[in-house]
Point group: D3
Chain length 319, copies 6
């Protein structure tokens, strides 16, 4: 069961209102790497967890992330305090209020729709979705997802710190950022305390495919590194005649009952695009006098016109 203490985990001292900054900070309230995403990821894993140690850790950290959600949300609420009151009381002229709401970021929506409270959106106003939550019920995968989530949250906090010069906000963001580092360390310990954590799951891979590096992107810029070279890698440069990897014919096939084959062939015949046709098309009809193809006369040297140097003139050409 959850309990709440009215003190924040970290004191919030905001110097002055700034609704645009508030809308940027929403990234860590309702964004993909924000505190709600973190809390819900660890909470849902904790509920399903079968190992008592990990369950304890997941609920510890989930609960702390909720407290961080409270800290960041309180900063956002503070930064919006005056625009909220001004709009609520219609305390300024329409023109002044309009300007105060269109100063940047997505603060316009935060004021008009959300009334200055912290909203579960990212900094572009995109609603939070549980599509952000990576819980798969397999600890060796879930802990890696948590490690990655903490590292993403850390860098977003770092960026927000870099654009904020309010000392109280900077200090609180610094605290929140640091806690992500600590959480990552806990998740790492829990992962590596699983005896056999790679590859994840129970089923081993097929050996000859697990050591193969397929160089699918070729040309000037091909590089070597420990990720594709060295003893543990067999590098393959696919060519048409080395395909597919399994030695088959590289097609997709299916067995079907004879009746179904007949139905299938009937469908295919009915809907065939005749390769020998030369049909007049809707585009031909619509292309004007030169229907069916673009003639030189029509285009007036459009290729030249679209050269960047004289693109602007091109805009008045076609009609």
């Amino acid at each position: 069961m959850f309990m709440h203490n009215k003190k924040l985990q970290y004191t919030v001292r905001v110097s002055e209102p700034n609704p645009v900054l508030a809308s940027l900070l929403l990234e860590q309230f309702g964004g993909p790497d924000g505190e709600l995403a973190a809390a819900m990821q660890y909470f849902s894993q904790g509920l399903g967890e079968d190992d008592p140690g990990r369950k304890d850790m997941l609920l510890d950290i989930a609960t702390e992330e909720l407290s961080h959600l409270e800290v960041i949300g309180s900063i956002v609420a503070m930064l919006n305090k005056n625009v909220k009151a001004r709009l609520s009381e219609a305390a300024m002229s329409e023109a002044e209020l309009y300007l105060s709401l269109t100063a940047g970021g997505n603060s316009h929506t935060q004021s008009i729709l959300y009334g200055g409270g912290p909203a579960f959106t990212n900094s572009s106003g995109v609603p939070w979705t549980s599509a952000y939550v990576d819980s798969r019920g397999e600890p060796t995968a879930d802990l890696r997802s948590n490690i990655a989530a903490e590292s993403r949250a850390k860098i977003v906090y770092e960026r927000l710190i870099a654009i904020t010069d309010d000392p109280g906000i900077k200090e609180a963001l610094g605290f929140l950022m640091t806690r992500e580092i600590a959480h990552q360390k806990s998740f790492e310990k829990a992962l590596y305390a699983i005896a056999d954590n790679f590859p994840v799951g129970k089923l081993p891979g097929i050996e000859r495919f697990s050591n193969m590096y397929v160089n699918t992107s070729q040309g000037d810029g091909d590089m070597s590194g420990p990720w594709n070279s060295g003893d543990q890698w067999e590098r393959q440069d696919p060519q048409s005649d080395s395909l597919p990897l399994d030695g088959g014919d590289g097609t997709a096939t299916i067995g079907m009952a004879e009746d179904d084959v007949a139905i299938y062939e009937s469908m295919a015949a009915r809907t065939m695009s005749d390769p020998t046709a030369d049909p007049i098309t809707g585009a031909d009809l619509g292309a004007g006098p030169g229907a069916g193809k673009t003639s030189d006369a029509d285009m007036g040297g459009a290729a030249d016109i679209l050269d960047a140097s004289n693109m602007a003139d091109a805009m008045t050409v076609r009609r």
Copy 2:
């Protein structure tokens, strides 16, 4: 620039149609851990990458994931071949077609809406969203996201393998699963080839908060492990009087201009919920003769009734 060879990277041999299985396999076509999500994550990172080695690797693997998208999509298309033809040609009675479309999974939508082609949804028909893509433009975070993504994809393939007894599908899924293992290994190498990859980014954490473990979930079930105990951890059991962590008062405050304070106070006064009131409410109005509170007579011992043993009877009580 991308090129396409008409051979699949791995030959697909499906024994017989099975649209329900097709709808389950969509998890790896249009689901959160599926091949599209993987391909787009690495591709978007590759386009923004500034390190030539990682850029090459990211485009190699992104391209291979597109080839895997083709393999899994081809299996889905094969499994749906006969239901597609039957429905398209209305080759069976309505009742037979209806039954064939409601046999389980989400195959009904796959047939009616998507016509048997592979759809970019997960196994519940949820449309793919780029909210699944974790690209943050910071390699030490992105590579961890990629490691996590590969580990999730691996376990989902393992589960699909466990429920499939078609040998050709099992073999292709085994290939795809193994490649996720190989990709994880490449991403790990690239991450650890960055000299100073933890914590991510450039800004160090605040030391006293980076070694602290906050035991927020307390009670019977508290556990110790390397994630919260040992030399590197300072464990904190928060109590009301140890809050907040910064030694402040744990409140959120803001500086506001005098004029704004006046507006704010006017708003607060206007919208106060009077704590001394005892208002009649809408619920009171609606609660019938016993308005305002639930009397014993009304409830007929509802607590007892809601005991599971006689819940069904309770359902006819209130009116």
Copy 3:
């Protein structure tokens, strides 16, 4: 700051595993009226709240809803315990596992993607979105949204109780349902303790439009009731000649600079659909020998054929 006690607010005793029921119960975990939606709605309102009484109440109830999220999530996790273990250990044949995952509801996705843990989706697997959260920063609106949210949550619990015969689950659901009733009562009290709570906000309406009932849906079935009749209502039956309500001409107009008018007219002329044309269209091209219109011969009495009695035959007509 949040704290967590390892005891649940209500003991959960599940008789036996049932992953299909688990997938139905997700409605109250990650559905629109579920506990996460409730918790986050009240929490975000509480953070932005300026009235100390309401702020206290909102955080009390938000915190309790998190505890309810834990209860319902624990039930879901319990119901999935055996399918999770069986799939994880591949402890049954593929055919048996396949059958156990396609028994109904959306349990297939819950097992394959989420590994049996509680997922933040509704009972159709739709990811939770903060679009469910109604927080507007205006207490007279927000409290009404909370009252409505509690009433929706209550009825969904009632429906789940009606389909569950596991006594332990029924009892826990009965507890959760009842708490929604209590929460609604609190929100009602807080709303009616605001002196002047209708209409919401500060701006009064225009009197002649606030007492008008517009009977836009007309015909057999028109009804009278206190919602459209009686002293406080002026009923209007709109007719073409009584439009618009303001006495103007019912058009939309705008002032534009002369230059812009010229540009606008040029655009309109360029893109006009000529009402005097009789063009051949793409559909005409595609309609076969009778291009341009559907002749009797073509259709073979299709209207008759589409009579339900012989629709099936119609399916083979066109080609």
Copy 4:
């Protein structure tokens, strides 16, 4: 069946184009409290309604909301008229057009993607979703949802009125705002004309839990009010030893067949995080010379550095 009269319900007179204002007004076209959401909520309820009086009312109001959608959409279209024409005809230099599209709000997307027509998005460009629609097929819940929806729509209109100084727009918004008041009154009448409308549904609550107020948020700031005090409330201050509420042990349990227990234990053993381990982790590997923990030397007094006063300097420390 719906019919459409070419006159608007209220005449729209816009003084001059303003695409930024247009993008703000979209909140009531395609936002969560906008006219489409209202129309579809009442329409879907009306179609499923079994009470003739409510059905008539719901279709009346749904139809009027569609007319309001037309009014607000017409205003948006008017406000965008010149930017649409200018962009369509490329009537200005690129630099001028670029500036006119990046003047604030989300007008850039409205012009580039939607071509100046009214789009079903909110003021941040978020696509409308039926997740906004609260229809549950239970009139005592649905009417409360409608009352709440009208109150939210009213306050959003009030805010838009407060930032608009175009007299014609202000007048039309005032009309639309007032109609929300009238609609709320109708829904209130219909709700209270149901004899026994609280609690919703048929099943009564469990008495001892319906009168209990749980004070989960504790500390300086605890308040009393009619929502948690007085005769009808029994207040509970949860402590660890008073949990759970049911007198059980507060755990979650399930009955499982012996075979499944064995499988489950095998899974748990295989995936245990060993609490006695002290593993080297990936973070240890990545943390540089001081791998495994953050030494004082590494951090260079980071806590001090992150004090807001000298945070900027800190940014160059780590490498």
Copy 5:
């Protein structure tokens, strides 16, 4: 199988960084008409296609669209290069970085969340969703969807060209725009090479309804054109007494078992809104001294006040 060549299909030469423009160009990277949507639409159709000619074409064009995705994504990455580096290295003061991130468009989110890499969002930051993909497994519908998709992509490119004066970007956008024209032509040819492509599918329509034009929007502004007039159209002006079109009574009915009818009637009676009631409502309670209706005194001539000329004064009236 896909392969990748490190050369772009078209050389990208960007003059100078411009993160705001980058955020606008995302429309064609992750927007509804962008290159990912096009590539995935044709790719999914190609995988399910049964006609070898169309399958070849669909995979040709899908692959080229992926190459276009690479071109537009590379432009975006280039435009963000300096803001990415400055933010990553915290190379400027907080105030300067803040200003550089709030200069317009949605560049703030692109920097803070996505770190300057190309994100799969539109120009408002809305995540890409496969709801944009129109693949139905019926070639005569799918090809029309492709034609429409190409035409939408073309116009969005045209608009982006109109606001860009960087010659290298303009040239690349001109190339991409032109390719959409070429693709549309291919899809048109493939559509009209199907012998009988209108109406789509196999089932003919009912003749008398396929030639009927229903004039549901009536009044000043009714127009004639080839879309509703001429030999092939029978125009119907619906009036109440000509409804419904089938000659029935225009109601919806269902057969139900007697038992169910009894249950249904019991439900309807229990939940009836009594049309003869005159209940006090929640709004009445909340409306203050004049509860139940809005008196003249209360409103202070609000209708006049809401006249645009003196709206601002009205804002202080109610309390």
Copy 6:
């Protein structure tokens, strides 16, 4: 302004309840090709339209689609009538109700969440989103989108007709399907009545790129047809040495100020993945005794095991 007549446009006669069929029919109520999507697409285009003829047509058809939404929604409501009443009154045992809700499709969510009313979801329960609406403010693109939308709606109705044997439903669906044919014809006429409708917009393409067909998918299966062969096409088979199309070097470049270059290079150096490193990785740590590579001993001949014939055995191998 919209008006509503209580008669449906087409009489609905449903034989008997069938909630599973109801959930399938939702595809045309709240699915991507359903009536709401159609109505809103044409309505938003109509509001923004500048050509009086098209504006009239768009509002005519939008209004009719709303009437179709009413017809399909009424069918859904009828099909759910008895399950709604049974669940609402708890008129059956829990086990019977449970079974009636898990009979297939997504009827479980339709009953539990939506209470049997028609919901704005598709047949998988996915909420409707305006991402389905294709309105771009350019008539030659919008009309093509409408033509495509009508063709998709037609085929979905055809599929629903093929699985329904209730004569009244079949008849109503036949009517609705036919109206889509008629609407497509109107949109075609309006498109081809625009003098110069291809390519869309005002800007011509670059001639040499508008006639080029790029054969990016190569191999066994390359086909010729009017879409890539004949006088109007110049076919290009891209090879590494013919890239890029513009004659440049195929790279992406940007001009940056010297200061920024220095910052950029500093960032790149700091975050480089050292290609000469051979780091131990997290995967190495986790892979057990054979850390760093997968040895033969570890894998036990996994490649063989993953042969489909003995895959099941493989599942118990690794631990």
